[in-house]
Assembly symmetry: C2
Homo-oligomer: 354 residues x 2
């Protein structure tokens, strides 16, 4: 008789699936960079050897945050204009812009959203090169694209996407980041393990403080603005807290009016060009008595949370790491409130919009 020494995750505990998928991210990144490395390098080479005139991303929900991150990369590193497109241009109004010399990139965990499929079909017909990043290379999007990249996150069973998000970020970085940043990619799995180890205990304290918050605001700038949006979406999906996440620049153009003592502010920043503006926002919020915390390397600090990110990570790669504590936070807040983050009300794993 053999004894099974592995401890299976207790699948009936609320949040067990989400927590397991959060924890396995560094292993999945390693897998994607090794097993998926050849394909990523080949697609990258084709894009960089003959860059398109523009890159258009189509995505929904969490994947749209990965696309927002990639918009910055493409414009800064590849030097090509990039933006996110609205699928309803096609599905509602039958729009069909001229897309010759344009690369259209669909980002979708399931690869099944009908509106993204319709957009990609139009894009092909109108001359675009098409690429899909997905967790299911048998999906409709993968089948109709010129090229499909498997993000290799493995089957995602929690409704709130976690490992598919960082898998998308990683693949996008491998395709579009500059050479210097690219060299840092292989270090990410080990850094991810460290961040998870540090964050797990620290986030519990933060979750206890956020437990009764009715609203939470999250903010960041540049590459990390994707983190702010994704962190807010996780809190919305799992804990039904009214979380607003946005670029700190957009925050200052209106929603800053919401900030008062009753609304905690969670910022994401580390050493880099975004730190100055976030420091100013932290000061401004502090003057209003707002409960401010910062997830970062300690360059800017808030009220309680110490540095949970290592120093020296390129700003281009920080989003892969800084979402980890926020994912843990969302799971903890949900459980503290008595919800099951694995089964949020009103949501299913594949959302079919037209």
């Amino acid at each position: 008789m053999t004894v099974d020494v592995t401890t299976p995750a207790p699948v009936d505990v609320p949040g067990a699936r989400m927590r397991r998928e959060i924890a396995e991210q560094p292993v999945k990144w390693h897998d994607a960079l090794t097993r998926g490395g050849d394909q990523l390098r080949a697609v990258r080479a084709r894009i960089w050897n003959r860059p398109p005139k523009a890159v258009l991303f189509v995505a929904r929900g969490t994947s749209d945050h990965a696309a927002l991150y990639a918009n910055y990369l493409v414009q800064t590193a590849l030097g090509v204009p990039a933006a996110s497109a609205s699928p309803s241009v096609v599905t509602l109004y039958g729009g069909a812009p001229d897309l010759r010399d344009v690369l259209v990139v669909a980002v979708s965990q399931s690869g099944g959203s009908p509106d993204l499929v319709a957009f990609l079909e139009m894009a092909r017909a109108r001359g675009a090169a098409t690429l899909t990043l997905t967790n299911d290379t048998d999906s409709a999007l993968a089948r109709i694209s010129d090229e499909a990249i498997d993000i290799l996150a493995g089957r995602e069973t929690a409704v709130a996407a976690t490992k598919s998000y960082t898998g998308e970020l990683l693949a996008l970085a491998a395709l579009f980041a500059g050479e210097e940043t690219l060299a840092q990619l292989p270090a990410l799995p080990e850094l991810g393990e460290k961040v998870l180890a540090v964050a797990t205990s620290r986030v519990e304290e933060l979750a206890a403080r956020y437990r009764y918050a009715d609203r939470i605001m999250t903010a960041a700038r540049g590459y990390s603005s994707a983190t702010a949006r994704e962190a807010a979406l996780k809190l919305v999906e799992t804990s039904y807290v009214s979380a607003h996440g946005m670029s700190s620049a957009d925050l200052l153009h209106g929603p800053v009016a919401l900030l008062d003592q009753s609304v905690p502010l969670l910022c994401f920043t580390s050493a880099g060009p975004d730190a100055r503006e976030i420091a100013q926002l932290v000061d401004l919020a502090g003057e209003r008595g707002v409960d401010v915390d910062v997830i970062g390397d300690g360059t800017v600090t808030g009220r309680t949370l110490p540095a949970v990110l290592p120093r020296g990570v390129a700003p281009e790669l920080r989003p892969v790491l800084e979402i980890l504590p926020a994912q843990l936070l969302a799971a903890e807040v949900a459980v503290a409130r008595g919800y099951d983050p694995d089964a949020p009300r009103g949501l299913s794993k594949v959302t079919r919009t037209y």
Copy 2:
């Protein structure tokens, strides 16, 4: 001695400035279409005679919602890819994509935001044609653009932008809408007067019901998704309600989890390709006991609000009209809560982000 028979607006009543600026919109539209008509036609002719390869918009806050609207127009009517760009690509990371054959359009009431100025300077240097839509043609943005269009909204003194938003929408429609839609533009001022007349009394009831709401969700699809976002921003800015506004497709990919009996849902739709999806959302919300209202022509109806928009308006032009009841609503909710919508906390008329 002469007697002054004009009644000056009582400037000391909370919301007097915002209400006056809401009310004067139809007159301003007429002004923009007549006094500004020659310039709009000339710029339009240049764009349509030799369309750019792509159009990139840069804007912040309310103006970014006008840009979102224009993204749809450009892709559907002009048949050219269009999207909104993030100025921080330039201001944080020094990105400088190749923008030859690209038209970059800045949309800004004040024309003074330093990050938009930096983006336009980069765009010029990298070969883009540049156009600014602004309420101040002496502004920095207007001065550095190849062409500057005065939206002719007149001086806007309320901090919450209202007439500058519809002025931007109108100018963007005049530039980018198809010929058939263009023919409907001159009818808008009269339709606007009618909508304001009907909405003023109806919105009071709705404001009374929203007075104690802590959260409000707004949703729409396609062209009208700009309305949903702008309506939420007005409620956030003036009433500090936690309002989420988004495309109904994005809503279904996550934030729909927030919807319950405690959160009213305000939708925007009329006869058109977006009506079916909004009707489904209204049904889904109704099943959950959500308090749903619809601002539209009566094609889809919610709980209480009757049709406040006329029938037969092209979906491309509806955003100009359907924001009027929402602007009134924001002012009314603010006053009902004891706030002054003319002077929201933490906001000033010109926001300088870098």
